[in-house]
């Protein structure tokens, strides 16, 4: 029986509390920090060589789908009723509404040092000390909307542009492609204008603080954001039923992308699972 992932703005008080408590429980036993570590370790940039499984690659979507499933399974071992809610940033755009409330993720960082001081993940609670970080910072930081140099959350039309593209991804399967659903959603652009950073990437930048960097998983909003990105993948799939994950076959030895991307039936590191096996998760969970 598939379980349901809900819109975070619709969670009841009890659902919020149980989600938060499950996160705090896995943080306490060190499990959460392994997720942070794993995400840092799998960030390979496309100008640097090596296999890219998590970012700047077709498997951006299945990689994060599986990553979410692992986190969700960890939470459900603590409390079997918990699922990861999604944050629809095309609708919930206020810095004071869900998910930024005291009973959920807490609010914006304070002005002086961007430290989050409200809610269950505030440093002063003693429950959310950051261990795996790019900086020596031990407290959760946010700078919602980037006060010093403001940016907006992606518009609904940005998401619509991505969803309209019938092709999953195109060669050379990296951050430079300007077509294909995957990068339109992942959001790598060119040029230096702020419009160059779209959708998924833009939301990381809008939240700011730890969400800006390699240790973004330290902010629990990471999961709510990626649940929505994952939901958008299911929306794209139902709009373009005849279209599948690409590439179907691995790029050959003559290609610059040889051994650098994961094709449909190849193993997706670090798991023993292929994008093909992750394309349809509807028997595990559904979105409400």
């Amino acid at each position: 029986m598939a379980y349901i992932r809900k819109d975070v703005s619709t969670l009841t008080g009890a659902e919020r509390r149980r989600f938060v408590n499950a996160l705090l429980a896995i943080k306490k036993r060190g499990e959460y920090d392994e997720f942070v570590r794993m995400h840092i370790d799998h960030y390979v940039s496309d100008g640097d060589g090596g296999l890219r499984s998590a970012h700047m690659a077709p498997s951006f979507l299945p990689w994060h789908r599986r990553f979410l499933l692992d986190l969700e399974a960890a939470l459900r071992r603590v409390d079997p009723a918990v699922t990861v809610p999604y944050w629809d940033w095309t609708r919930d755009r206020a810095t004071t509404a869900a998910p930024w409330t005291k009973d959920l993720l807490g609010g914006n960082g304070r002005r002086s040092d961007h430290q989050v001081t409200t809610g269950p993940f505030a440093y002063a609670t003693g429950n959310w000390t950051i261990k795996e970080n790019v900086t020596d910072g031990e407290f959760l930081t946010r700078d919602l909307g980037r006060a010093g140099d403001p940016i907006d959350l992606p518009a609904r039309s940005d998401v619509e542009t991505a969803l309209r593209d019938p092709v999953y991804d195109v060669s050379p399967w990296d951050s430079t492609v300007d077509r294909g659903f995957r990068n339109r959603l992942e959001g790598w652009g060119s040029g230096s204008g702020s419009a160059a950073w779209r959708n998924h990437n833009r939301v990381h930048r809008w939240v700011g603080g730890v969400m800006l960097g390699g240790a973004s998983v330290n902010d629990p909003v990471f999961w709510l954001h990626h649940a929505f990105v994952d939901l958008l993948w299911t929306r794209w799939q139902s709009r373009h039923r005849e279209h599948r994950y690409l590439p179907a076959e691995p790029p050959g030895p003559g290609s610059r992308q040889y051994r650098r991307v994961v094709a449909r039936h190849e193993k997706l590191p670090p798991w023993n699972v292929t994008p093909d096996q992750l394309e349809d998760a509807s028997r595990i969970y559904r979105y409400a």
């Binding site: 794993m38 370790d41 060589g49 399974a73 040092d113 900086t135 990381h204 670090p270 699972v273 096996q277």
Partner: protein, 161 residues
């Protein structure tokens, strides 16, 4: 609990991650040594960026090194001939207030840092300034470096022109 994707059991725990943690830490230390070695390299001869692939990244003001104070932070960077990327044009070694900052390169030739990971910049200097912008007041990079070692994760090294 074990969930199942298309009949394939999907183990719920990132067990491999947990198991390999000590090895990873060791590799991190290796990287640290590399970076400390790099600060020595900063003082020696940075190689000229002749073999870098063409692209927007080549608009760097100083070419192959910089050393300046930006928003109260001492930022230094140099293109060195050491490191795994040496054969393909060298590797940038960068510090902010003496602590190493790992730069990554995008296929279009632009640069991003571990601090500011979801957009890129035309030059290493711009990427480092942006990282400073992304640091909170009083926040410093880790002494033991950015703890990023994708170059150990397999695959060949080399810039993608």
């Amino acid at each position: 609990m074990a969930v199942s994707v298309e009949g394939v059991p999907v183990s719920a725990v990132p067990a491999a991650t947990a198991r390999s943690a000590p090895a990873r830490r060791t590799r991190r230390r290796d990287l640290l040594r590399g970076l400390l070695g790099a600060s020595a390299a900063l003082a020696i001869a940075p190689v000229v960026a002749a073999s870098r692939p063409p692209g927007p990244a080549d608009a760097g003001p100083a070419g192959s090194s910089f050393d300046e104070t930006y928003r109260g932070r001492h930022i230094r960077g140099a293109l060195t001939s050491s490191g795994p990327a040496a054969a393909t044009g060298g590797e940038w070694k960068v510090t902010v207030d003496g602590r190493p900052l790992h730069l990554m390169r995008r296929a279009d030739g632009t640069w991003l840092s571990m601090v500011d990971h979801y957009r890129s910049y035309a030059t290493p200097l711009e990427a480092v300034r942006a990282a400073v912008d992304g640091l909170g007041p009083g926040e410093r990079l880790r002494e033991d470096g950015p703890a990023h070692h994708h170059t150990h994760m397999g695959g060949h090294h080399g810039l993608h022109p």
